[in-house]
Symmetry: C2
Subunit: 276 residues, 2 copies
């Protein structure tokens, strides 16, 4: 049986994606872990949930979850990768990093997902997810999105000719993200001079790192004073977000990709974290 | 001095826009007025606010407002057009129709704006503006946006090669609209076979009419039972939306376009409706 360190090293291999893609994911996970350091508990996922595959091993996945210590504002961080061979001969590769905060702060959650379904196309979702209704709380919009000019990242990326806005088929996903969310699809077409790897390295990496820095500095580790009533309403709204994430992001695709038994095993454990 | 009917006829002339653009605006205003009929009071705006211009008459504008009777769910409807000669020789033409509901219902407001700053380009904003946080109230998202498949309109329009997503520079505007909002910019480029007028007639008109029909059927005239506490929170959120609309949409541009004196005169009257 593998030790915790070996399982973590295996997660950090991100074995099916390109070098710049892997470097980015490792960098982001390490940034959270080195910064949050003592305020995160070790990953205690069962081994068969840290790494899993379907019966033919054509689909493989890995999860890495660390919950915050009781005094931390971080609820938990979740890193994941999924690799699925496609009947067409290609493969679907998804890597993600999300980090949820507790109701002791109202600061946004962090969310990044890279979905690559062919060597020449990629969908990127990168956002600080608001915890409050931005209309009823205009100061929240100002503090976390307007004043720090978060939209500049989206604008920068949008200038690349290969980049176009991505509209999620889920209206819930469109509604839950912030107005500065980066939701783009990147299509290299027949381009020979540029590659997805180059776009990740030169454009996505610096933006994702900068946004994560901002989140660590101004969201996760900035102490906030939140009233008791507000905590209750934050917890309720967060609960809806987490349940919807399981429902939309995972529950619909996992059984298809990994078979019902493996999907149930993984989802049951995940639900424990999301509903805790 | 002109009578109310003459002033209204002058508003409905939409004298500076193309025939299909005018036909669409007249059709939409008439649809609301004929359907809402007896539940709307006559327009009682001062004459000099129904029609106004700057000192050189290079900028002209017209407003038409009707408030709902006391038993109506409609707060007020506002039709408007603005025409400004540009130093470049061209002109800016904006036409809009918005309709706000009262806190006796939580159904969405209606919003349409057409902004044409050159003969070959147009920005369209068309939406049913949510009255509640769509995350905290998932049933609201389902009832007004998912179940009636409102996204199909955006998808249809997005298929045209001249149409691309429009990102408002205001994060508030991006946050206030629904996930099915049509916010697009239409650019005809050098096309000789197609025109903005053709796009308005063949594509924008049918969509705008269908969305307004839906709003009239399922929002403005469907009785809802809203609790007293909820009414208070709807009124508060609506108040923020209305104040922001004045602030972002009008207060920043009106003095520039019409001079401070005319801008103050018009805005003071408008504020009375928006804050009522």
């Amino acid at each position: 049986m593998s030790s915790g360190n070996e399982l973590k090293a295996k997660f950090l291999e991100f074995p099916y994606v390109s070098v710049p893609h892997r470097d980015l994911m490792v960098d982001l996970v390490s940034s959270v872990e080195s910064r949050a350091g003592s305020s995160l508990q070790p990953c205690t996922l069962p081994h068969e949930v840290q790494h899993f595959s379907n019966s033919t091993a054509s689909s493989r996945g890995s999860l890495h979850i660390r919950t915050g210590t009781s005094s931390s504002q971080i609820d938990f961080m979740l890193g994941a990768w999924i690799h699925c061979k496609l009947p067409s001969g290609g493969a679907l590769n998804i890597t993600s990093l999300s980090a949820y905060l507790r109701p002791s702060t109202d600061a946004p959650h962090f969310l990044m997902e890279l979905i690559q379904s062919s060597p020449t196309s990629l969908v990127l979702i990168l956002d600080l997810t608001p915890r409050k209704d931005l209309i009823a709380y205009p100061d929240y919009l100002k503090t976390y999105y307007e004043d720090p000019q978060l939209d500049k990242h989206r604008q920068r990326l949008q200038m690349l000719p290969q980049v176009s806005p991505y509209f999620s088929p889920s209206l819930y996903i469109r509604a839950v993200v912030s107005p500065t969310a980066i939701m783009v699809s990147i299509d290299m077409g027949e381009s020979e001079s540029a590659s997805i790897e180059g776009i990740i390295q030169d454009h996505i990496s610096p933006i994702a790192k900068e946004l994560l820095e901002f989140w660590l500095d101004k969201c996760a580790f900035l102490e906030k004073s939140v009233g008791d009533l507000e905590k209750v309403s934050l917890a309720k709204r967060d609960g809806i977000i987490k349940n919807k994430t399981i429902e939309i992001d995972l529950a619909s695709s996992f059984p298809r990709l990994f078979g019902q038994e493996v999907a149930n095993r993984v989802l049951d454990v995940l639900k424990g974290y999301y509903n805790a």
